[in-house]
Symmetry: none
Subunit: 253 residues, 2 copies
């Protein structure tokens, strides 16, 4: 199995970001997913102020290391490939793709860039055309406009997801294969103990016991009881036995 592709060389380019909270949040989520190359094009706020630090928390190093440039072409210098994000269907006559479909293309070479527009207007047509492909995160009316940092988060998550091999499902029955799964002997001893107690307390009657006990066995199998589980459950049975023994004793002449 091949190791996941590193996302480290991938640039996140924010064009004229105006919200320091967004810059901080974007830096944090980049670091969360293993990205580190932040490029700010002509930022409209102070990326080193208190608001940005507050949201970056332990990712302020990403902001400190960020490149500051004046134009988008400078931000893309040396890149082989770039994808632009947009919130709207534009008249660019170029197809808009989902992140899932387009982002793997950025991972086939390096360096590459993913471009986000300003909070208020998004990327304009000239800016869009600096990229070769375009993605739109599919949102819903009546409020389609994603927050900038949320869009960055979703793209970083999707990049991370597609950079890894198809995830193997965690088998939900993993308990049954674990080394401490109760043996069949243990289980049988437990079910016999359970049956005797349920008869004793008058929950089961001899003529219905076997069908009821099948249901308890089904539940136990689904729960994939461990040795410890069985010991714990038998502890309850002993306690019930003790409690009802008190009753019998006190009733006896």
């Amino acid at each position: 199995m091949s190791p996941p592709i590193s996302l480290a060389p991938l640039r996140i380019v924010l064009v004229e970001p105006a919200g320091p909270l967004n810059i901080g949040s974007a830096a944090r989520v980049m670091k969360n997913f293993g990205l580190s190359q932040l490029v700010l094009v002509n930022p409209q706020c102070d990326p080193h102020g208190e608001d940005a630090r507050q949201m970056a928390v332990h990712a302020y190093d990403v902001i400190e290391a960020a490149s500051m440039v004046s134009t988008l072409p400078e931000a893309l210098a040396g890149c082989q490939r770039a994808i632009a994000t947009t919130a709207r269907t534009r008249d660019l006559q170029t197809p808009l793709e989902s992140p899932e479909l387009a982002l793997p293309w950025l991972l086939e070479t390096s360096p590459t860039a993913l471009i986000f527009g300003p909070e208020d207007r998004g990327l304009n047509n000239d800016e869009m055309l600096q990229a070769q492909r375009f993605i739109k995160i599919d949102t819903h009316p009546p409020y389609e406009s994603l927050n900038l940092a949320q869009a960055v988060a979703i793209c970083c998550y999707e990049l991370s997801r597609v950079s890894q091999r198809p995830v193997q499902s965690v088998p939900l029955t993993e308990f049954s294969t674990s080394s401490d799964a109760a043996t069949l002997d243990d289980l049988d001893g437990y079910y016999q103990h359970l049956e005797s107690i349920l008869l004793k307390i008058g929950y089961l009657y001899p003529h219905t016991a076997s069908s009821r006990m099948r249901k308890f066995r089904q539940i136990g199998h689904r729960a994939a009881l461990s040795t410890q589980d069985v010991a714990m459950l038998r502890g309850i049975l002993r306690q019930i036995d003790w409690a009802t023994h008190q009753e019998t004793t006190s009733k006896s002449p």
Copy 2:
């Protein structure tokens, strides 16, 4: 092609959120992806203040319509299924799954809930065990901790993605896909009943009850109890209660 599944009935439950910016951002991204049921459990900040409004922008209606409750069980009232999110590998001995694998399971019935913990500590073990499944968004060292609103954004995106391309969910167990799965209310009632009986018969002591009860919840979750199973198990509890009542009665002067 079947129409996308509506995400509208799905509850986003934030337990003790302390950051109004996060509540605002979460509301915005919920609305972006077609979710509207926000439930705040014992919020530690003002969800109607200026900070929350600033981030919610045109989704402040989601906050205005949010339910405010005191406890997580109240937040989950009536839900068939719940998934809890966690940032860490816990000692719950329950598998952590990816959002992609587990979230489709919430779309197979309704209402269902997705639970997020407080910013500083995440969900504790008791809170986690109110849910039947657990997801972890796979992040990278050295900074794995996602911002709360970013985690909500990623999950809403993933829910929207999987809702549009009906994927067969990985069933919790084969059984859990049946329509007669016990509701979370039923399960909670059963565990409370079980705890009271185990205390009464002297199996549990008040100071150890909660850790033991966590184990019983784990077993029950793995078994994916049905409504009939819960009714049957509660029948046993009533019978134990009756049997020990006999004891008390016969002992009385």
